[in-house]
């Protein structure tokens, strides 16, 4: 098999507020033989907010990220669903409009850059589910999760818009379930798994965001989940950091530990919880780790 090599784009959140996701991804990929190459120049994708400001600026700044990956000769691997969606939409538009690509290159040229349009953007989840493959993944499991009841939480941006992302089925997604099964977890199904966590309006309409977060958590808990796993740091921020606020606002007891995808895979690969930054979570994961 060809070596799995990627230009690594952890995204801003995972370099700061959820840095445990970044450090754990490095440990997990090293163990799985997936090479991550840093992108020291990479700027923020804009998380959708740059799109709200100026479409052309959003496209040009994302093309700058793609140009760096193109120079490295690798596809981009990210561990953030919002980065995935934002970059995929930009890559999709640039791929489908030669006029936009030419216009964008004129802007890039001022900074001495060029993008030819070839960069692909992938999520760690996709790399595990497909590039590496769940068969290979399950063969490397050292400490299967023993039927732990896990609720997969995709959120919005790892599934939609499906034409630009071009990977999973937004209505009957399979990738996260397949990875969870490969590491020995029991998958808990619930309707909220592909819906929004509310992150984008945390600072804008906070009550909506918190109610949304609480609704998803209660949905998963109602179906018997012992914990949640998400491929997105922003979903993690809401489901974990805001869980106490959701308990208060919805007058409910939730206490559902939330894991980053890499952490859950790391547990199955035999990595120690203390090496994966789990003490950084607001909701204690202790009852699961015991």
């Amino acid at each position: 098999m060809k070596a799995l090599k990627y230009a690594y784009y952890p995204g801003c959140a995972s370099q700061e507020i959820t840095k445990e996701s970044n450090s754990t991804t490095r440990l997990v990929t090293a163990k799985l033989g997936i090479e991550l190459h840093d992108m020291p120049k990479a700027n923020c994708c804009g998380a959708g907010l740059l799109t709200d400001y100026d479409y052309d600026l959003y496209i040009a700044l994302n093309a700058r990220i793609f140009a760096e990956a193109e120079q490295m000769g690798m596809d981009i691997l990210t561990i953030c669903s919002t980065c995935l969606m934002v970059m995929s939409r930009a890559a999709f538009d640039l791929r489908n409009s030669p006029v936009l690509l030419e216009k964008t290159n004129k802007v890039l040229a001022k900074a001495g850059l060029h993008y030819s349009g070839s960069t692909k953007v992938k999520h760690l989840l996709w790399v595990l589910a497909k590039d590496l493959g769940v068969v290979k993944l399950s063969g490397m499991v050292e400490a299967p999760l023993g039927g732990l009841k896990v609720a997969p939480f995709y959120g919005c941006h790892s599934l939609r818009p499906s034409d630009a992302l071009g990977f999973d089925d937004p209505e009957r997604p399979w990738s996260l379930e397949a990875v969870l099964k490969a590491i020995g977890a029991e998958v808990v199904d619930y309707t909220g798994k592909t819906k929004c966590c509310g992150f984008q309006v945390d600072l804008v309409t906070e009550e909506t965001a918190i109610e949304m977060t609480g609704t998803r958590l209660l949905d998963a808990k109602g179906q018997g989940a012992e914990c949640i796993v998400t491929p997105c740091p922003f979903c993690h921020i809401n489901l974990d950091n805001y869980q106490a606020s959701a308990e208060k606002q919805l007058e409910a007891d939730i206490k559902l530990p939330v894991f980053h995808l890499a952490q859950m895979v790391g547990l199955a690969l035999g990595l120690r919880a203390t090496h994966m930054g789990m003490s950084r979570h607001m909701v204690s994961a202790e009852k699961i780790l015991r």
Partner: protein
């Protein structure tokens, strides 16, 4: 081939129908048969009490949106054999985020009221204006938004509307962009002011469901993004949404990435940021409090700033050309 369907029934005027329940039906499906054709077959030959809306049968009138296996589609635009094959079942339910009146029929009044709120008609200048030339580029900017058939699929799937009923919602906002983005419109600035108020453009949670489930390619989220950009161009900034965007734009220009601490402060302002202190302390205990990026710029930040400068230059030139016309 025989295909089994389950349809959610509800009829508050009868004793048996007061609580919603699912009723099983079966139709003989031929290749290409649509969900609407199956519904017509059931109502015509098996059960005349089944209620649903329909008219044109060709994805133009926007009457027949229903949930098909959990997601909103036009019944006339969805074939039953592939839908059944994919999910091994076929469950029909009324659209979400609306009150059900009977079976698959919902109360659409809130939809129209939201539409009314954006004044869905062009408002040209009061004084008789000279004729306005519409270029192909001008038309293209609102072309997608014009395709809306008001079926309500986007509002049914909208995650923000699910929580906040007062939100204007994607359908009305796509219509708003169709007008604000029209070069013949004279009331754009006033509209943008109203749209920036509570439960307008900044309530969108960017869940992208409206884009995914619009049967006509309207992409309401794109319309909302354009409205937001236009509101900022008009300097309508007195709301958390606009401040949030401004903070991001500044942060990327300054350090190349998102500076979470500065984002919170700039979006919420001094007083509301003070209210975040207890939450911040709890995060600090877990080592999660974001600290400002005083020195950690990305490499070659100059390239980013050059890109900003070039885009601003182009924008200013465009604005100048517009006033020249």
């Amino acid at each position: 081939m025989k295909i089994d369907l389950k349809i959610r029934r509800f009829n508050p005027s009868t004793k048996t129908g007061r609580e919603p329940y699912y009723q099983a039906y079966s139709v003989e499906a031929s290749e290409g048969m649509t969900v609407l054709e199956a519904l017509l077959e059931i109502a015509g030959k098996q059960d005349p009490t089944l209620s649903f809306r329909r008219s044109c049968r060709s994805s133009i009138c926007g009457s027949c949106a229903v949930k098909i296996n959990g997601f909103t589609k036009l019944a006339c635009n969805t074939q039953i054999i592939p839908a059944h094959q994919k999910d091994k079942e076929l469950v029909l339910e009324p659209v979400a985020n609306h009150t059900v009146l009977k079976d698959l029929i919902v109360d659409f009044d809130p939809f129209w009221k939201k539409m009314d709120k954006v004044k869905p008609y062009l408002m040209p200048a009061e004084k008789r204006a000279k004729e306005v030339a519409v270029t192909q580029e001008d038309a293209a900017a609102i072309d997608d938004a014009q395709k809306c058939i008001m079926c309500g699929s986007c509002n049914s799937e909208c995650n923000a509307l699910e929580i906040e009923k007062r939100y204007l919602g994607p359908a009305a906002l796509a219509k708003a962009w169709r007008l604000v983005g029209d070069v013949r419109e004279a009331g754009g600035r006033n509209r943008l002011g109203r749209l920036s108020d509570d439960h307008g453009i900044w309530d969108c949670v960017r869940c992208v469901h409206c884009v995914e489930y619009c049967p006509k390619g309207v992409a309401p989220l794109t319309a909302i993004e354009r409205l937001r950009a236009r509101a900022l161009e008009e300097d309508i900034r007195d709301n958390h949404g606009a401040k949030h965007v401004d903070a991001m734009v500044d942060s990327v220009k300054k350090v190349g990435r998102l500076d979470e601490a500065a984002m919170t402060f700039k979006t919420l302002g001094f007083l509301r940021s003070l209210g975040m202190i207890p939450f911040g302390l709890k995060m600090e205990m877990h080592g999660k409090m974001p600290h400002p990026h005083l020195f950690s710029q990305i490499k070659e930040i100059k390239e980013v700033r050059t890109i900003y400068k070039e885009i601003e230059r182009q924008k200013n030139k465009k604005a100048k050309d517009r006033t020249k016309d």
